[in-house]
Structure formats: structure tokens, C-alpha cells
């Protein structure tokens, strides 16, 4: 085990992600200085459309995750709580509100517009309304209704989202004097599609035994797919990642040396506790599939750019019916030869966590897959009972070992 501890569990390409994120935030200030409009967005917003309009998108959710990972979240959380935001509210939102209330002199420049789409999460709207009240910036609230059947991706539900995208274009043109060109959107859609294709191809290599890409990589490497869709930089990153993963897979080199258990992780990662992934890996358990990693990967059709982006907004994240989500879960268990599931009951994400017990029950009954469900928060370290969670992990791995 000591040799495993010494060994790096992160891909070379993943090591570059921190720099890429910092550069992305720093370019936001450059864009601001050049007079480009800057949008604060929630992560299921049609970034392709904003890029085509030359609006610079930044996501306070990333900011919250990053602050948490670097131990910088507490000041912002407390600032929001001092203003009256309950500790029972989403920690990303408290972090973002705390930043907004404390002067916005850090990584994120003040927004010229606040854009959100009600997709997967209703908190987005309340959070964005609160930012709007504090900052006075104009607010656009779009919505992607819950996809009940796949027909919704082609019927009046799709039409509703397409029309909202057209409305957003019109507002941006009027407010900022921008000009929308369909040809530009087509180019961006092609780039975005390429990035999704590369990422999905990379993820497929996790079917290999041993798995060449671990939980630490997948949690970090998703960043360009969320806010950098439609850029060459995102494609370069995913090409490099794919090449590295392919090479490792061909060499039969896993992210850990002695792979004993292949796990599914359901939830957003605990950003302040990456060492928990290492804790699993030190005991021979590797994460090979997470619904989170697929949440932003969506193939786009450049011949129908607006429709295609609308379809993506509808189908991203947790916005599709529970039966469709469970179907994907069950496929993944076969596809990735999963031995057990770890479900993170996230106090901040009620939308994700609420039906988790029902899902876990189905996994367990249908595939006889043992699962571990633990409670904590994704960005607020004050809600994390480390020793207790590690005890439960030990017990869970013991069960897996006895099978």
C-alpha cells in the first residue's frame, strides 16, 4: 500500500486544469477591460449561444467549487449567512452571494447580465433573483421544462426552449448593441460538439480493466466542457487528455496499480475533500463512472444549430425523467462492470439527493449492487464528518471484499 500512496493518481493532462481555470477567470477581467459584456451564468445555460454573441460567460458554481477546493470558501459563506442567507441553502449559492456582497474584487468581475436557465434545479432562479436584487444587474431567466419522455425533445417543449433562446438573442442585441450571426453559432456548435465527442470517447476507456482515468481526473476535467464549449482551447485540452488515456489503456496501466473494486459515484464531488478519492484508491477502489461526468456531454447537430442547443439545454443534468436516468444507471453498470455504488447525499443539492434512496433501492434489487450512501455538503466543509464517513467506507469496502 505504501507504494500506492507515493504514486500520483492524477493524469498529466489533469494537472494542467488548474492553470486553465485561472486563465479562464483572468481572461474574464480582460474581456471586461475591452468592454465586452460579461454574464454570470448557471452551468446549464446555453454557453454556445453566448459565445456566438461575444458575451463572456463565467459560472459562480465553478467559483464556489474552486474556493472550496482551495480552502477559501468560508469567508464568503459567512458573509452570505451574515446577510441572512440560511446555512440550509445551497453552499455554491452562499459562496457566490458572499462574493457578490463583499465587493467582487477577486476572480470574477462584476456581471453585466445575469443569465440562468431553470434546468435540474429551481434554486438557480432564487439565487439569480437574489444576485439581481443585490447587484441591480439585468436578469434573464429561461427555463427548460422537465423532459418526461424523449418526445419532449422534438415537440412543443423543444419549441418553447428554442423561442426562449431567440428571446435571449434579442435581449442581448438590444441591451449591448451586439449582432447575432447564425454562421458564427454554426462554427461554435461544431467546436462544442467536437469537445463532447472527445470527452465521451475518453470516458469509454474507463471500461478498461484497470481503469486509466480516475475520480480525481473526471471531477476536474469536466471544467472546459461546462463553460469553455465552443473554444479551440477546450478541444486541445480534450485531445491531449484522450491521447494520454488511450496510451495508458493500451499499456494496460490503471490509475491505481491494484484495482480491486470498480465503483459508480452519484453526486457532485466534495470539493474540499479530494483526499476521500485517494482514501478509496488506497484501498483498491476506483471510480469508473459518474452521471456527473456525462452531464454536459451532448452531441450537437450543426445543421440545426439553435434547435440542437435547445435540445442540449433540455437534456442536460437531472432534467430528464427518473426512468430515463435509471435506465442510464443500469446500462452503466454493465458497460463499466461496476461492483458497487457510492451515493453522496448532498445537503446543498436537494434536487439531486431527494430521489437517491429510491434509485439506490432499484440498483440494489435489480443488479444486486451494494451501495454506500453518505451525507455531507459539496462546498461547505463544516458539514463534513470525516471520521464517520471513512468508517462507513471501510465497512462498505469490506462488504465488497467478501463478495
Amino acid at each position: 500500500m505504501s507504494s500506492q500512496r507515493e504514486r500520483s493518481r492524477v493524469l498529466q493532462t489533469t494537472r494542467k486544469i488548474g492553470e486553465l481555470i485561472m486563465e479562464y477567470f483572468s481572461k474574464a477581467w480582460d474581456a471586461k477591460a475591452q468592454g465586452k459584456p460579461l454574464a454570470w451564468i448557471t452551468v446549464f445555460t446555453p454557453v454556445e449561444l453566448l459565445r456566438a454573441l461575444d458575451i463572456y460567460p463565467i459560472a459562480p458554481e465553478h467559483f464556489g467549487a474552486m474556493c472550496s477546493a482551495r480552502g477559501l470558501a468560508l469567508d464568503y459563506l459567512e458573509e452570505a449567512e451574515k446577510t441572512g442567507y440560511s446555512q440550509n441553502l445551497c453552499s455554491y449559492s452562499r459562496c457566490g452571494l458572499g462574493y457578490a456582497l463583499s465587493g467582487m474584487s477577486g476572480l470574477m468581475p462584476p456581471p453585466d447580465i445575469l443569465i440562468t436557465f431553470r434546468n435540474s434545479c429551481d434554486v438557480y432562479v432564487k439565487w439569480w433573483q437574489s444576485l439581481h436584487m443585490h447587484l441591480g444587474a439585468p436578469l434573464f431567466v429561461g427555463e427548460a421544462p422537465y423532459v418526461l419522455t424523449l418526445e419532449d425533445l422534438d415537440n412543443y417543449v423543444l419549441d418553447y426552449v428554442v423561442k426562449q433562446l431567440e428571446q435571449l438573442v434579442k435581449i442581448a442585441e438590444e441591451k449591448f448593441g451586439l449582432r447575432f450571426e447564425m454562421e458564427r453559432l454554426v462554427e461554435i456548435v461544431k467546436l462544442s460538439d467536437k469537445a463532447s465527442e472527445l470527452w465521451l470517447e475518453t470516458l469509454k476507456f474507463r471500461r478498461f480493466k484497470p481503469c486509466p482515468l480516475g475520480g480525481r481526473d473526471s471531477a476536474s476535467d469536466i471544467f472546459p466542457l461546462v463553460v469553455m464549449q465552443g473554444t479551440d482551447q477546450a478541444i486541445r485540452f480534450y485531445e491531449e487528455l484522450l491521447a494520454e488515456v488511450k496510451e495508458k489503456a493500451n499499456k494496460r496501466e490503471g490509475i491505481i496499480e491494484d484495482e480491486k473494486f470498480r465503483l459508480l459515484f452519484d453526486g457532485i464531488w466534495l470539493w474540499y475533500a479530494f483526499d476521500l478519492i485517494k482514501y478509496f484508491e488506497d484501498r483498491g477502489a476506483v471510480f469508473v463512472y459518474e452521471p456527473y461526468s456525462e452531464a454536459w456531454a451532448y452531441r450537437l447537430d450543426a445543421s440545426k444549430p439553435l434547435e440542437s442547443v435547445a435540445r442540449k439545454v433540455l437534456a442536460m443534468g437531472l432534467n430528464v425523467d427518473i426512468d430515463l436516468r435509471i435506465e442510464r444507471f443500469l446500462e452503466s453498470i454493465k458497460e463499466y462492470q461496476i461492483d458497487g455504488a457510492v451515493l453522496f447525499s448532498n445537503r446543498s443539492c436537494k434536487s439531486w439527493s431527494a430521489p437517491q434512496l429510491v434509485t439506490a433501492d432499484i440498483l440494489s434489487k435489480k443488479f444486486n449492487i451494494p451501495y454506500l450512501l453518505f451525507e455531507a455538503d459539496m462546498a461547505d466543509p463544516r458539514q463534513y464528518a470525516e471520521a464517520q464517513i471513512k468508517n462507513r467506507i471501510d465497512a462498505f469496502l469490506e462488504v465488497l471484499g467478501e463478495r
Binding site: 440550509n88 433573483q129 439581481h132 412543443y156 417543449v157 445537503r347 439527493s353
Partner: protein, 362 residues
């Protein structure tokens, strides 16, 4: 004036009515919130019945940090499932939406999710909502093999309009300062309207005479929040020298404030009414919600506002910051009381309510 004892008993134990429906062969449709148009259910010859959290603990199927109200509603739906022919859940907030997910895997009864748009101020949302109501109508027609005729729907709208007008007219007696219709009575009537057949409850309300309820000097309060079924909360306000003159609750004024316009196109009229009605914290621009609270506090000459918040209720917890700020600017004092189960926490809540009323001068 005295609210009939059968209505008061019903509010203490709404499930008691379920046996009566069962015995008389009435097909019940359980629904979760005031965004579901009861008119459509009635026009299909079915009886709408709003599912409360009364009598249930939180469900073991949801995590501890999910809204205890939504969780207890889920528990009641599953516990009382046999009394119902189907359920309608409205997508209002995350817990209610995910309650649909859980219910879909746990109930054998027909289940419908009404996708209520967040935006209430544009034509796109209105068009979308109209199509959702058509889908709802089709669900009722297909699952219960009933053809919903426009004329019958228009009659159901008239019936529900009559109920809303009656409830509002009683409520409005409070605004001139001459009468004092206590909150307990008002809420008894509003809740009974969500459970009893409309003709029956309308007849009972019409028979009441409120004009002997004279005004007094109690501290006039406005109640802010979501759904309150536990009427002990109203009782402790009265006992502490307060008078809940107005509210913006889902089980209060938001249920009956607006009527459906008469129209040859009843689905459009319903979509318009239900989307543009008195706003819920989960729908519409926050400015509309602030304006509604502001209007109520002015109209009913309110001295203080109490927010009743279910612990973990995101929409209320975000809005409460802005409502508090607005009220402070207007010189109105406010207090937030959060709870998981008001019945079990009534002593603590009472102490806080008493202190608040005393601080205003009660």
C-alpha cells in the same frame, strides 16, 4: 358568527372525509398545490382533494434535509393511496418536483406532473402553460374515460370562481378596520374549500354571518410563507394578542385571490389565471412577490410580518432576505420562524410570537 363544527373537525383531521368519499363511490384526485386547476378535475366528474402534511411524519424515502412539508405530503400520498384514483403533482419547487420522481416509482395510481413555468410575465410561458393544461385535460380524459366538454368546464370555472369570491369577500372585511374576521375562521373555510365538494362548502360559507365580528386593538400582523395546515399557529397568534389580518400563504390568500375571466376559450382563461395569479415564491419575478406583500401590508394596515418557513424551504429562505429588507425600509418589523414540525415545536414558536407581538406594542 361560528364556523360549523364539521368544518372545524375536518381541518383537524382531513383524512376523515376520505371514508365518506369512498363510501359514496366518489373518484378522488389528490393534488399538491394551488397551481393545479381544480376546475379541470371537477369538469371530469372527479373530486379534487388537496393533500396536506397533516397527520404524517416525514417520509423515510427522502433525506433529512429535504423540505419536511413536501416529505410529509409524500408520506400522506402513499399512506392514503387507496382512497385515490390518481394524483397530480405540480412542478413548483425542487422537493415537489422530485416528489413526483419518487411517487412515480412507488405508486400504482395514474400520476401526472403539471409543468408550471417559472416565468409568469411573458407570452411564451403562457402558451407553454396552455399546452400543459391541454395535456392535463387529455390525461384526465384518457385515464378516466371521460370527455371534458367546454360547457361543463365553464360551469366548473363558475363554481370555483364563486368559492374564491366568497373567501375573498370574507377576507376583505378585515381591511376597513371595522370588522375582525379571525385567521382561524378564515383558514378553516379556505382549507375546507380544498377538501369538500365546492357546492357544499359554498352553501356553508353563504350561510355564515360575519358582521358581528367587531374590530379590537390586537396587533395587526401579516403572515408570509408557503402552506400552513397546522392551525395551532393561528391560535397562538390570537392567544398572544395578535391578529393575523392578512397573509400571502398558499393555503390562504394565494388560493383564492384571483378569479378566472369568463371566456369562450376556457383553457386559455385557466392558463392566464393560474400563471398570473397572486405569486408563489417559486414563480415569477421577485419584484411581483415583493409588491404583493407590500400591497397586503398597506391594504390591511399591518404592524408586523411573521414569516413561517419550513426548514430547508429554499424559495422562502431566499425571499425572506429581500422581504425583510423591503419591510425594514417601510418601517414594518418582521420575524422569521423556521420549523420542521410545528406541532412538536409549538412551545418554542409561541415564545417567539409572544416576544415579537410584545415588541410591537401588543
Amino acid at each position: 358568527m361560528e364556523v360549523p363544527s364539521d368544518i372545524r373537525d375536518l381541518c383537524r383531521n382531513p383524512a376523515a372525509l376520505l371514508n365518506r368519499y369512498k363510501d359514496s363511490g366518489v373518484n378522488l384526485i389528490g393534488f399538491t398545490c394551488s397551481y393545479v386547476p381544480e376546475e379541470l378535475i371537477i369538469s371530469a366528474g372527479l373530486q379534487p382533494y388537496r393533500i396536506s402534511n397533516t397527520g404524517a411524519n416525514v417520509s423515510a424515502l427522502t433525506p433529512s434535509f429535504v423540505c419536511p412539508f413536501a416529505s410529509a405530503v409524500l408520506e400522506n400520498m402513499l399512506r392514503l393511496e387507496d382512497f385515490f384514483s390518481g394524483f397530480v403533482v405540480a412542478h413548483t419547487c425542487d422537493p415537489m418536483w422530485r416528489l413526483y420522481d419518487i411517487l412515480k416509482k412507488k405508486t400504482s395510481k395514474p400520476l401526472f406532473l403539471l409543468r408550471v413555468p417559472h416565468n409568469t410575465d411573458n407570452e411564451l410561458s403562457l402558451d407553454f402553460f396552455k399546452t400543459e393544461l391541454v395535456r392535463f385535460k387529455e390525461f384526465l380524459s384518457q385515464d378516466f374515460e371521460i370527455n371534458i366538454d367546454d360547457n361543463v368546464l365553464c360551469k366548473s370555472i363558475e363554481l370555483c370562481n364563486e368559492n374564491r369570491s366568497l373567501l375573498k369577500s370574507i377576507y376583505m372585511l378585515n381591511n376597513g378596520g371595522k370588522y375582525r374576521i379571525c385567521a382561524l375562521d378564515r383558514f378553516h373555510l379556505a382549507l375546507a374549500s380544498m377538501w369538500m365538494p365546492k357546492p357544499e362548502v359554498n352553501a356553508q360559507i353563504k350561510a355564515l354571518d360575519f358582521h358581528d365580528c367587531k374590530s379590537d386593538n390586537n396587533v395587526r400582523l401579516h403572515l408570509n410563507g408557503t402552506s400552513v395546515y397546522d392551525l395551532d399557529l393561528m391560535k397562538i397568534i390570537e392567544e398572544s394578542g395578535g391578529f393575523a389580518a392578512s397573509d400571502d400563504l398558499c393555503t390562504g390568500s394565494r388560493y383564492f385571490w384571483n378569479n378566472v375571466e369568463k371566456s369562450n376559450d376556457p383553457i386559455s382563461a385557466l392558463a392566464h389565471r393560474y400563471l398570473k395569479r397572486a405569486p408563489c415564491p417559486s414563480h415569477g419575478p421577485i419584484e411581483d412577490r415583493l409588491e404583493y406583500v407590500n400591497f397586503m401590508t398597506r391594504e390591511f394596515k399591518v404592524q408586523g410580518v411573521i414569516t413561517f418557513a419550513e426548514r430547508f424551504c429554499d424559495p422562502i429562505l431566499y425571499d425572506s432576505v429581500h422581504i425583510r429588507n423591503m419591510l425594514a425600509k417601510n418601517g414594518i418589523r418582521s420575524m422569521l420562524i423556521d420549523y420542521e414540525n410545528p406541532t412538536q415545536e409549538i412551545g418554542r414558536i409561541k415564545t417567539r410570537v409572544e416576544a415579537f407581538i410584545e415588541s410591537i406594542g401588543g
